[in-house]
Symmetry: C2
Subunit: 275 residues, 2 copies
């Protein structure tokens, strides 16, 4: 099953466009997991078990594992999802971007070492830096287009031939990079007008949308401007708003409640949608 | 000592602008190290011992360690350089680019976990994605500007307000991001004309120049177009051309010979340079 098939199936079976970002900062984990031998993995496992019927994907952010010397706990987390919830795809958020031979090694990291179903990548180096990911036809390759952070406009909003750089990325993704039909785009929820523009350029391409929750993106606008004609097409990520919903031993139930609330909020804005 | 001071001192003390890229692919290592328990580290150690008086920096490429499950051997390699050759700075080539809180974790990875003196970063997300690196004043932050790979022009050559995207990056780096005087730029040796343009924009900023050797960049043009007025200002990286100079038990001596040859070739083109 390809990533594209897997995400479409998960959207429908869990009736959810919510992706939970697994970005565990050791300093913010509840006291009850802090003393465990593998606190990050145990925290993730509890969040996953509590939310697996409410999400369309999980997205571990590699930096939290790399920065906290927790590569093994990242592997355990992804293995745990595959073994226990094989229908939920895992997006490894790494935002890699490097020359061909190096990108080949990064593809090995994401797809062989960590067995991710999809990976995020940076478009700044162009096609040959994406090729080693793209050629894994069954995996998803999610290209940064318009990111959710405050400074994203410094380069992304520059205008060339009446189109912004992020529009150029969307067009390259659509016309040149999507040879294996496994490309998606990252569009931040904090820029809903841009989301509408890019949806017009790429009517059917799935988008990964970070920036609701802690970053303040407006869910209603995200759905209205970003969903495909059939009311899906979005993987809406929330990390901090879900995993830190509660800081006591009740954290997993609180994460589930926050996930379900976001799912419900999203679903009420989806066109022709039956709850 | 800051990275900038360290690299300037190493340029002079070793009379060298050569940076050796430590990008060890297990499949390409000589048979004599393949059977060792930590083959990548042992290979690196031999190359380092043979070349430490001929280089201005080492640049391990993180992908080769991440993709081959060799994080520990990366740490050992960097520790080995710091302990035995404390005057040679280590550039960790990771090309990170992510939103603020995530970039903070990546800065922890590069500077705390691996103790790199400098790190490469991707500019696509703008200032707030670079800030967590920049605020480590004593470390170097090396921003991708014009990369050496064939597709680099897809975005980098787009023209906005009569300037290419890579020129915009150079100007942002010079005027906005360099608040702590610790920014450098990556300019591929495969684009010597662009190197000249960017040197004009940033007369004093050090550049990391990959792409000589296996990628075919012309050393003479790199020096003529890229050196600062005092004949330095460049960190010229070669990886495959040096570390795979020989595939027998003679690999370290061959790496030293290739390094010295590149150093000599570079030095003969440096202005006012005494060998």
């Amino acid at each position: 099953m390809t990533f594209m098939e897997k995400i479409r199936a998960a959207w429908r079976s869990n009736n959810s466009l919510v992706c939970v970002g697994l970005d565990p900062d050791l300093n913010k984990l509840p006291g009850c997991v802090q003393h465990l031998p593998r606190p990050i993995f145990e925290f993730n496992r509890a969040v996953i078990d509590a939310t697996a019927d409410l999400v369309c994907a999980y997205k571990p952010q590699a930096a939290y594992y790399a920065g906290q010397n927790a590569d093994e706990q990242l592997r355990l987390t992804i293995d745990y999802i595959h073994e226990n919830y094989p229908d939920i795809p895992v997006i490894l958020d790494v935002k890699r971007g490097d020359i061909g031979p190096t990108a080949t090694m990064y593809a090995k990291e994401a797809f062989d070492r960590y067995q991710a179903d999809a990976v995020t990548v940076n478009p700044y180096l162009g096609m040959d830096s994406l090729q080693p990911f793209i050629e894994h036809r069954e995996r998803g390759v999610i290209v940064l287009c318009r990111t959710s952070n405050p400074s994203s406009g410094e380069l992304q909003e520059l205008v060339c031939d009446h189109k912004t750089i992020f529009e150029h990325v969307a067009i390259l993704a659509r016309d040149k990079w999507n040879v294996n039909n496994n490309i998606l785009l990252v569009i931040g929820a904090t820029f809903p007008d841009e989301l509408a523009k890019i949806r017009k350029l790429c009517p059917d391409m799935p988008f990964l949308v970070p920036g609701v929750g802690a970053q303040g993106g407006d869910v209603k606008k995200v759905i209205e401007n970003g969903a495909t004609a059939d009311g899906i097409g979005l993987i809406i990520n929330s990390s901090r708003g879900i995993i830190y919903a509660d800081n006591t031993e009740n954290f997993a139930a609180a994460a589930a409640a926050a996930t379900d609330e976001l799912r419900h909020t999203i679903n009420q804005y989806r066109k022709n949608h039956k709850s």
